[in-house]
Subunit: 205 residues, 2 copies
DNA sequence: CTCAAAAAAGAACGATCGTGCTATTTTGCA
DNA sequence: TGCAAAATAGCACGATCGTTCTTTTTTGAG
């Protein structure tokens, strides 16, 4: 890889970490240059504008999501194993050290939902692809007869994504250490073996 | 009410609308002054600092949530009617014209989750209170035997809040016009009359 | 109506940011 | 090793923002 590409990768890796903490729209070229050991104009030359830099950060974060969540899931057998692997990796990514300030893509969805432009377009495309991937794995599980009878796949994908967001919210804002467990419990209630809705874990009186 | 308080209320009402679109951290005193028909320094004198202004915006948005969502629900009978009224108003608020850019409190949760200070503290307190309110209404419904047997109230509150966030995300970013319907469907599946998990709406083959 | 107090306006400051231009250093091939 | 090209640094400009200080306008009680 050329020197330029290597430097660009290093910049973006640091930028994604910073975006996780302060948000993509609050990235500044100056502080990013300092963290990367470059001068302002040296870093600027890699992207040409701040918006291009922000767009590159979005794409880098999306690529990282695919590497850390989607690809590992596809090493599992089709059906519930693959679906469960995707959901587990998706939830657990919120607790690893790689994103100290939370998922920059979820945050960016709130930052840019009212700001038309290339960044919003990239976010929309990425979120649509995420949802379609989730629905595809759900459909595979349903075709294999591994989901509760009569499950509504789009609704289920909608609810599972809600669990992700709730886990993120409770972890990042409320410091709730049980949020991952709640999300995984919710997944099992919606998709798992508990066909009947929530059998009490303690014997009835 | 004194002139000062009246002007302050008008400023905050406009500020909440702006925060809905651009976020609380991107509010600027200058543009807010223009929208309120005041000068920069005239507006500034009402708050004393930008952080105090942002804190006042958070409190105004929280008060608005109580007025529009919580209080109307408490006019309904305890149990499922009250719970359903709360959830419906909560979802539908995302689609009314009062918050053109989405819920500023949900967005603020992402903006300030890594920024310690009075604003984050106020957001945390407000979200904890929201969750406790939701859990209290769920508990009432469970005590009345109106929830599916063995329902886990904290988990249910966690999942219902996820439905709110998913609806917000799909509406604001993906322009999904069915997102409210999905959230309400999800509510009925989790809390509603469908005790068995999702009876198919179309007759089985 | 008067006039002191409250409210708002106006102007200016230092700081920060994105960006453009030029000089300097570093790279990698001949 | 020499040298053109690529990569980076240095510097400055204009714009924007929060904040302070002073002046002007507006309010409302006596």
């Amino acid at each position: 890889m050329s020197k330029k590409a290597l430097t660009r990768e290093a910049i973006l890796q640091q930028a994604v970490r910073s975006a996780s903490q302060i948000g993509i729209s609050r990235l500044t070229i100056g502080s990013l240059a300092g963290q990367s050991g470059l001068s302002k104009s040296g870093l600027f030359a890699h992207f040409g504008s701040k918006e291009a830099l922000q767009l590159a950060v979005v794409q880098a974060a999306q690529a990282q999501f695919v590497e850390e969540v989607v690809k590992p899931a596809f090493t599992q057998p089709r059906g519930m194993p693959r679906l469960r692997a995707l959901f587990h990796a998706w939830v657990m990514r919120l607790y690893g050290g790689s994103m100290p300030g939370g998922c920059p893509l979820l945050a960016a969805a709130y930052e840019f939902d009212d700001q038309p432009g290339a960044i919003r377009d990239a976010l929309v495309a990425g979120q649509r692809w995420q949802r379609e991937t989730l629905q595809r794995l759900l459909q595979d599980a349903q075709d294999a007869g591994e989901l509760p009878a009569g499950s509504d796949v789009p609704l289920l994908a909608f609810m599972l994504f809600g669990l992700i967001q709730s886990a993120h919210h409770d972890h990042q804002l409320l410091d709730n250490h049980h949020s991952a467990q709640l999300a995984l419990q919710g997944f099992e209630q919606l998709c798992g073996t508990a066909q009947a809705p929530a059998i009490p874990t303690t014997p009835a009186t």
